[in-house]
């Protein structure tokens, strides 16, 4: 446990050090840049805002973590997020219910949207044995163009200069108390549910075992295809929920490029967290802090906020490789110690 924390902290610090080097070369003061970054996202009045920014990151991260841990290479989070967001938007445009019914309805719609899109890939795999790794990637591009079409033609807001839908009805807006957006509660709830399924439920155990050793789990009586189907649908629903959150807690409409890079960031979060559910939450919030702070950093120090995108990728590469490196190092040391004991 302590070793795990050490690898993560050292990895992140190393990445920041590399970033500082780049900043120094460009003639910025790295200490000031980093200070502004965290000051902007962690100021007392800002924390709730930062947390709500990490909602889509955590949700897509959970989606990728569960998928990867279960051996389903679902890389379709970007597409699932978009379709989920679109379905929630369409529901928000045509349904007019009191908020108590409206919000759950939209959230369920967004999950259905995401599950529908991952379901396509799952069915491809189930019936035709087509690798979900490439089909989900292709479905991402198709979802991208499909939603672009949907907001340009059927659900286009008249007189708008940018492809976007009209606002969804007020009842579907996620309530906000001051800076605190209720989407954070949805995120925490999703986290608890997923943590419980993965760590305490039979289904989660079967998923993880299938991910680690498919043959072993099949011999143990696990229904591989049924579990695969469930994992794909669940992870699609999670990514779809992220899309629903982005719409109902954000601009309350579907705007082109609303998915930003959330879903790919989610994939990175799952990789850097080594598909650990708690670490996924931690890294999701951490990436949220970085992305929120990036805006402040750019405002004050003029360092482009895209720096954070680079930093995130560097963090992933360094932490993951560090983990691999340390693991082999520790096993080597262990082996040497045992050898010495045997000799003496």
């Amino acid at each position: 446990m302590r070793r795990k924390i050490l690898v993560n902290v050292v990895g992140v610090l190393l990445a920041f050090l590399l970033g500082a080097l780049v900043l120094l070369i460009q003639g910025y003061n790295p200490l000031e840049v980093y200070f502004r970054l965290f000051q902007y996202s962690l100021a007392p009045g800002k924390i709730a805002y930062t947390l709500s920014n990490s909602v889509p990151l955590v949700l897509t991260g959970l989606s990728a973590s569960v998928a990867f841990a279960s051996g389903a290479i679902n890389l379709g989070q970007p597409g699932q997020l978009l379709i989920g967001g679109l379905l929630a938007t369409v529901g928000g445009l045509y349904l007019h219910l009191p908020p108590l019914l409206m919000i759950p309805a939209l959230l369920i719609l967004s999950m259905i949207g995401g599950a529908l899109w991952s379901g396509v890939a799952a069915v491809f795999k189930y019936w035709f044995n087509m690798s979900e790794f490439i089909t989900t990637l292709m479905l991402n591009m198709i979802a991208d163009y499909f939603t672009y079409w949907a907001i340009t033609y059927p659900f286009f807001e008249k007189n708008a200069t940018y492809p976007q839908t009209p606002l969804i009805s007020k009842g579907g807006w996620m309530p906000e108390w001051g800076n605190f957006n209720s989407s954070i509660l949805v995120m925490l709830l999703a986290f608890l549910v997923i943590w419980f399924i993965v760590n305490r439920a039979t289904a989660g155990y079967e998923w993880r075992i299938s991910g680690q050793n498919s043959l072993f789990s099949r011999l143990g009586g696990v229904n591989i295809s049924k579990n695969y189907m469930m994992v794909m649908l669940l992870t699609g629903a999670l990514a779809g929920l992220a899309g629903g959150m982005v719409v109902t807690a954000g601009p309350h409409r579907f705007i082109k490029d609303i998915g930003a890079n959330y879903a790919w960031d989610g994939v990175m979060i799952a990789m850097v967290a080594n598909t650990d559910i708690i670490l996924t939450l931690v890294y999701g919030i951490f990436f949220g802090i970085l992305q929120t702070g990036a805006v402040g950093m750019e405002l004050i120090t003029a360092v482009p906020k895209e720096l954070i995108q680079v930093l995130q990728a560097v963090i992933v590469l360094i932490v993951v490789s560090g983990r691999v490196y340390f693991e082999t190092l520790f096993t080597k040391l262990e082996a040497r110690r045992k050898l010495k004991e045997m000799v003496s």
Binding site: M138, M141, Y148, T152, E306
Partner: protein, 297 residues
């Protein structure tokens, strides 16, 4: 007639970047590397091509920079996947996102723009007219006057085919993928062969990137590789790395792209843009059906 010529030329144009990247993927496929970093290498190549061409007002330097840019990505891949033995899949995904982040960051730092950069000072890669052939009607319009990189892609197809199957390096390359331990025990470092395959892959992906930003369009757009690296990966998998097969399948993808443009008269452009990705799904479908049949027989 001119419509057909236009479609064929469109097919060649959209096939070229996929072909080049997939040829690179073929080399790493034979070397037994699960290389999904073509997307990132291509994107990096496209950016540095514009950088080189813009600052030195010369397209050869643009191409050189493109190759160096893709090579930089390959070196990162080598560092993490080969030296530090990190999972190739995670390295690839990380690298692709690193390339996306880096190019958007540099776009902002170097050119001070967001989203896209275009300038009349960027010198594009020229089209080449072949004497004599250019005068033949119809055929001349297709065989001659293509972009230089299109011809390079053609040469690359032949070269990679030769390299894979007719040279000692090719034999070692395939051995590294087939059984790396036996290659290692025969005194040839499998890792060295793998590194070389990645370097050659970067060279080809760099060319593909240069074609995107100095060939078809002159300028760089954020994330302009738009899944072409993934399509080329699908192409490699579909034909199990065979360079000739890759050339044919790239042309097929190019054809669907041209078909999409053709359909734009009756369909919204968003749907016609989906065509190459749908075509990849369809191709994968037939591939897996064929695989299934072979397994049951």
């Amino acid at each position: 007639m001119s419509i057909i010529i236009g479609m064929i030329n469109g097919m060649i144009t959209s096939a070229t970047p996929i072909l080049l990247a997939a040829l690179g993927g073929s080399l790493t496929y034979y070397a037994g590397i699960f290389n999904i970093a073509m997307e990132g290498m291509m994107l990096s190549g496209a950016f540095f091509a514009v950088l080189g061409s813009y600052y030195f007002h010369s397209w050869p330097i643009g191409i050189l920079f493109a190759i160096l840019g893709a090579l930089g990505m390959a070196l990162v891949f080598i560092l993490f996947a080969v030296v530090l033995k990190m999972d190739e899949f995670i390295t690839g995904i990380g690298l692709n996102l690193f390339a996306l982040g880096l190019t958007t960051y540099l776009l902002q730092v170097v050119f001070d723009v967001r989203g896209m950069f275009s300038s009349p000072e960027i010198v594009p890669v020229p089209n080449i007219d072949i004497p004599l052939i250019e005068n033949i009607p119809v055929i001349g319009d297709i065989l001659s006057g293509q972009n230089l990189i299109v011809y390079l892609a053609l040469i690359a197809t032949i070269a990679v085919n030769y390299l894979d199957f007719k040279t000692r390096f090719g034999l070692r390359l395939r051995a590294a993928g087939y059984n790396r331990t036996s290659l290692d025990t025969s005194g040839v470092s499998a890792n060295r062969v793998r590194v070389w395959s990645l370097i050659l892959c970067a060279l080809l992906c760099g060319l593909a990137g240069a074609f995107l930003s100095l060939g078809v369009i002159t300028g760089f757009t954020k994330g302009m590789s738009a899944g072409k690296g993934w399509i080329s990966l699908a192409a490699v998998i579909l034909v199990s790395g065979n360079p000739t097969g890759i050339a044919l399948i790239s042309l097929l993808f190019g054809f669907t792209d041209g078909l999409g443009l053709f359909m734009q008269r009756s369909l919204p452009s968003q749907f016609t843009s989906m065509v190459p990705y749908v075509a990849t799904l369809v191709a994968l479908f037939f591939y897996s059906i064929r695989l299934k049949k072979r397994q049951t027989v």
